[in-house]
Amino acid sequence: MCLLGSILLAALLERRGAGATVREEWLFLPEAARLKPLLLGFHGAAADLLWIQIVQYVGTHWQTDRTFPQLAKALNLATSLDPHFLEPYRFGGLYLLYLARQPQAAVSLLEKGAAAKPDRWELPHDLGRYYYLEAHDYARSLEWWERAAKLPGRPDYLPRFVARLYAKTGHEETALELWSEIYRTAQNDHVRSLALEEIERLQAAHSSRLTVNGPGRLPKSTVNRQPSPVNR
């Protein structure tokens, strides 16, 4: 009888809760410096549980009010508890940028991650992408992508992005050198043909400028010409 009563009461409480609007979670998030010692060495597990909570927070708010007032603070806490935890930086950066529309907080988070994990290409890559796509600051994008391109495990397309950005920011000489390097080290025909096309495009652009402005600084490409795989 008592069990039945408790089940009914639990169901009643559940129904009362369902009608309520999204309550404000995490009004009090402690500072990591104070919280970390109290976790007695379990800060990694605490960061994991907080990250899972953050994912739920984002999902709930995305389906309801689409505001994320505590997101940046919670992400900052999770990454301070475990500075090596990559996902809160990467996905958190995306959430802040595209869902919460807080670009400054996203950049701060990604920069914090890039400083904490200097051996990972993902964070400078994401910063480069932000500056390229969102801020249209190509010089800073180039700076971050160039850093990412030097790190182990980076995707193959990164050096190509860097080379294109050099051309886009007016550094055609460097762009040509980078494309030549890509052409030389390419593992497949597609990349090699792409590099060749870019080299020819840069040289053509330079030649057309030469006819208008006189001799420039663009050197001859160092590519040992082979028949383009496209034309083969």
């Binding site: 010692p37 060495g41 379990f42 597990a45 899972i52 994912v55 739920q56 475990d82 935890f85 996902e87």
Partner: protein, 254 residues
């Protein structure tokens, strides 16, 4: 020889305890449960499994260490079995040492089972398991060796409830001692600094035995630091066992 017999008996007695199995089964269920938790996360699955697995081993190992450690001497007195033992040609130090080693063996088996569970889980998830994970589990065991020694010291003169509270307090203090020193260096006066420094030296430095981050994030482990930490545990545990022996020698069981 006598120490080995007592140790083996203590081990047999401990593994017959049903509560021990309940804790162990619960720990293994929690370990497996971490795989359910990762399904609601975005990324970081391997890290979460390792973190929660190591936390499980640590917490349930601590429960086992305290639960068994606090009753080590008290139970023998309560059941009056101690009176028959001390009439035999056994030194009291042999009794304490045997009891302690028996408990350490029990912990080794329990941490081993939980550790194998975690290694199996990570191997299944990642396809491979890092030796750093094994090292982190080994250091959890060493931490529990120290906690058991602490519990035994209290068990030699106090009731189980008080021993549990004191041991838990020392476990917390052992993890906070480095922060206490830092705090005193930043805010305290000369006397506070001296007190903090003394406590830092005297309290068990359990944060030195935490290699969870290195195991989870594949960070480098300094072999020298790890080796010195092992020696530290041996020395500290030996000092605690000697303290327990000294207390036990002075007790009057007439």
């Amino acid at each position: 020889m006598k120490v080995a017999v007592i140790a083996l008996n203590t081990f047999r007695e401990a593994v017959r305890d049903r509560i021990l199995y309940a804790i162990l089964v619960f720990a293994l269920v929690m370990l497996a449960g971490s795989t359910i938790l990762v399904t609601i996360s975005v990324g970081g699955e391997e890290k979460i499994i390792k973190d929660l697995g190591l936390a499980c081993i640590s917490i349930f190992g601590l429960l086992i260490a305290i639960f068994l450690g606090i009753g080590l001497v008290f139970k023998e007195i309560e059941k009056r079995t101690l009176y028959t033992i001390i009439t035999k040609p056994i030194h009291r130090y042999q009794f304490i040492l045997g009891k302690y080693l028996g408990l350490v063996m029990t912990l080794l088996v329990n941490v081993g089972v939980m550790g194998l569970g975690l290694i199996g889980l990570t191997s299944f998830w990642e396809g491979t398991s890092s030796p750093r994970l094994l090292l982190a589990i080994l250091f959890i065991f060493l931490e529990l060796v120290m906690v058991t020694a602490i519990a035994m010291v209290f068990s030699a003169f106090s009731s189980p409830a008080l021993s549990a509270i004191f041991t838990l307090c020392l476990f917390v203090a052992g993890h906070l001692s480095a922060d206490l020193r830092l705090f005193a260096a930043q805010f305290g006066g000369a006397a506070t600094k001296l007190l903090a420094e003394t406590l830092y030296i005297l309290l068990p430095n359990l944060s030195r035995l935490n290699f969870k981050d290195q195991a989870v994030h594949h960070l480098a482990i300094d072999a020298g630091t790890a080796a010195l930490s092992v020696v530290y545990v041996i020395f500290y545990a030996a000092a605690l066992v000697l303290a327990a022996v000294a207390i036990f020698q002075r007790r009057d069981f007439k």
